[in-house]
Amino acid sequence: MGREPRHVQPPIHNRLQVLRAERGLSRQQLSDAVGVNYQTIGYLERGDYSPSLDLAFRLAEFFDLPIEAIFARTPFAPMSRATSTPL
């Protein structure tokens, strides 16, 4: 408990909170749709938990996006910066 774990997994960043807000979904609604507890959705959004491949696929299918658009090894750029990029 006080000791560092031997194998620290690198964090997996995600855009779940943004995608959920964009679609006007509550955590409960999203959790019902992908079959997990609503607390798990919150832990995912907070970065307290990294999903299994199966759950990542279910979320990707639900949002109709490729997995890499939702999950990444590196932090996502803020949406404001992404949208202000000149075409």
Binding site: D32, G35, Y38, Y43, Y49
Partner: protein, 221 residues
Amino acid sequence: MRGASASVHTPATTTYEPAEVTWRDAVTTTSRASRRRWTACYALLLVLLVASIVDDRFAVGGADDERMPLILIVAVPVVFGMLRRGTRRLTALDHPDLDERDIEARDSAYRIAFPLLVLVMIAALALLALSLPQAVPGPRHGWFLESQALIGIGLWIALWAVYLPTGALAWREPDALESETQHGGLPEPLRDALLGLALAGAIALSLLAESNTGFLPSSPR
């Protein structure tokens, strides 16, 4: 898996009514700090419990049938119940619907609890040495351990065995999410302090009292 199919794209339009807050909800520990306080409190209660079993100075009265403070036995399930609710009963072996994160957290808690239980067993063996002088010779051969303390120590091990997975989970789980429907109530540190004072006061009274009956009339022997 529960809930709708993963291919549903349209958000449901149902609105979630705020659930009625019961007294059980009000004493459910939700933050990690609170859960850690009660985990330590429960461990302390179990230490007090075994102290009252093996040493009369911690017991009520001192007679053989009044060796455990009643309130201590009451406090143990109260605190355990709080921790169980605070960890959403994830350690229940027959829990109907755990998702992948819940299962991972539960399995991890059992893995941590096992070596801790071994330590408890070693401590119980040491305590057994205190009870051995009370062993009596059997009718044919050998010594029979008929001491009430042995039953108490067995119960103590069982309480640790049941508690340790929940304790490990309570200690490690992150803060619960704030409910999407907020409800009022006492701040958690204040609520913990009040409950802790009530339990500590009751245990102290129980230890100082001459009998377990308190203000109730004692039954004739």
